[in-house]
Symmetry: C2
Subunit: 419 residues, 2 copies
Amino acid sequence: MTTTLVSAQERMQLARTASRSVGLLSDAAKADLLRSIADAIEANVSEIVAANADDLARGAADGLSTGLLDRLRLDDARVRALAAAVRDVALLPDPVGRVIDDRTLENGLNLQKVSVPFGVVGAIYEARPNVTVDIAALALRSGNAVVLRGGSAAASSNAELIRVMRGALAASGVDPEAIQSVDDFGREGARALMRARGLVDVLVPRGSAQLIETVVTESSVPVIETGAGVVHIVLDSTARLDWATDIVVNAKVQRPSVCNAVETLLVMRDAADRLVPPVVAALQAQGVTVHGDEAAQSLASDVVPATEADWATEHMSLDVSVRIVDDLDAALEHIRTYSTQHTESIITDNDTHAERFLAEVDSAVVMVNASTRFTDGGEFGFGAEVGISTQKLHARGPMGLPELTTTKWLARGGGQIRR
Amino acid sequence: MTTTLVSAQERMQLARTASRSVGLLSDAAKADLLRSIADAIEANVSEIVAANADDLARGAADGLSTGLLDRLRLDDARVRALAAAVRDVALLPDPVGRVIDDRTLENGLNLQKVSVPFGVVGAIYEARPNVTVDIAALALRSGNAVVLRGGSAAASSNAELIRVMRGALAASGVDPEAIQSVDDFGREGARALMRARGLVDVLVPRGSAQLIETVVTESSVPVIETGAGVVHIVLDSTARLDWATDIVVNAKVQRPSVCNAVETLLVMRDAADRLVPPVVAALQAQGVTVHGDEAAQSLASDVVPATEADWATEHMSLDVSVRIVDDLDAALEHIRTYSTQHTESIITDNDTHAERFLAEVDSAVVMVNASTRFTDGGEFGFGAEVGISTQKLHARGPMGLPELTTTKWLARGGGQIRR
């Protein structure tokens, strides 16, 4: 990245300094900058694919699974898709400069609360090189500098993508230090990033539950916790069978490896006879392995026994757990115990139950009669997604560009003093 | 508090359970509850004053300073003022249930983003028993349970106030476990509170810079950092002398012990002859000790030499530091180096400088031609103040009741699945 060797700390200081000029760029300048990045990515497809080939070769030698290798892979089409995604982000409205509150005190002092960039956004993520470009584009579009720490398995791909993006910054007259990586410092880089209070304003971990837990526990930089989803669907006594079947199959099968896929079905005992056999059959027809409690096992064939661990597991695979519960209170209690507070849905025709579920479930997104797969920035109409926050501070649920800004109060007076 | 001895962890679990019912209380029920608390405080004035006398006697024996003893003291009038403040909070609009976003997707799925209570709010603060009542009232008004950890010097006062408030909860049919204290566990209580991820949703430290730093560093519960203010006023070349004098004196002298009081004046070199002598004289006439760099010392009498430490110090006293700077860039650089990002103000007649200052200073509140003392929830019209956030996540600047809520998305569908 740079020819002189600098510490991770110095790189973050450079990002901090760069953030001051990036934060003052106009909407048009930021959009132009993103288009330049997209152009540069397209102009360097072969270099990026070649760097990625190094990572793939190393990953294969290290015995990475097919799934991990697929997440790591960049071919010509995927690189072009990355560039297209950057162009999409360029088209989004500028989240900076919105006037969120405006009040004039009796003494004439005017107070405006306006959205401003955070400054420096940090990201720690796994071996998915697309995240490198994604986060950099979202951070820059919202006027932030970015410090990236990607999985070491994607080191060559990330280094090349960052070289290309920094080149586009420099060519646009923007300080290239606004995109930094601490990848080459290994674990020390991640540690330095988590301790960079005062240099990095917010840290977004993206990846496995374990990675997120580590960052949340170790970071003294404020964290926006994203991701892990032990997602529940409750099939109420009055659930329509067609909705129950369609929604459960969609929520499990359409893309099982993502955080908004359902992991556990809770079925009311008085509707279990009616709902469990057809819903389980529909899931099994799609290749899903159904883990069930004893009651569920007795109602359908080929249901494997659910263990205590199953209830707390985000399978990320074609597996689902089924539990029969006595009533809505029991369902709510199960959710309180095992949910990661990401998304839960109830299928019901009972309005009282629907409203109780909406009021009492303490999750980022609570649904009635809809697939949990809708918890997604794109589906919500945000145009881009920074991640899905499962914490309560600052942002909750799908995060778009506005969630990469903070606010400040501007006070314009004419000599006012406090009495 | 309770007759059976339970662990700090168990108390927080009780608060968590209580938070579920408190979170569902109506606006009217919460307002009534606060009025009952105010009544109970007034009905127990003598018990509260007696408990406080124990703390004062212990404090005097321990050699607490006059200032600390004054902060600790509750007399009849101060207890009644506490009750009145609780009644004021009861009158504030309910921050829960606001619809912040409402969108219906093309497929008919309706999405509403609504404000909801955090759940359990934790507070760690020093020996100011008024904070005990303040934070409990604000938390309950916003539908939250609260876990308190006050300074040990106020232990008897806090225990009595909490006993009275819990009594009012029970008498109102609300789970009294919604107000918890971990004071009697000493340092272990504070430690347990900082590690109560999953039980406590947000932790608000209030007090010295050192206390806040400890909480920010040690807590795995998300923190809202409040308070410490190394506040600057810049006297620009074009500053009106009357505004400069009035604002600087007001910002330093009106209440020197608070976080929005000014600590450092930065004066443009080409206006120093004109501004420094009268401004320093006006401060000295009010008993302020002026610490200055060499240039400032040469322009006014009785200016003591400023040390490097002075620039980074929140004096909380009638002391102010004065530095002469070459230009606006030098002033901005000084602020970047030493500011705690609380409040800064510029006194100027130059619109370009005013707008640059507003845009480039990275603080919670940035002012032009006004006293920094206006950074206050009451002055901003919030009706109550939870604290002044100096962080960028979730809340920045004075925090009112809405900052004690988070959001959730409610999705109401009719069988929608993702395509």
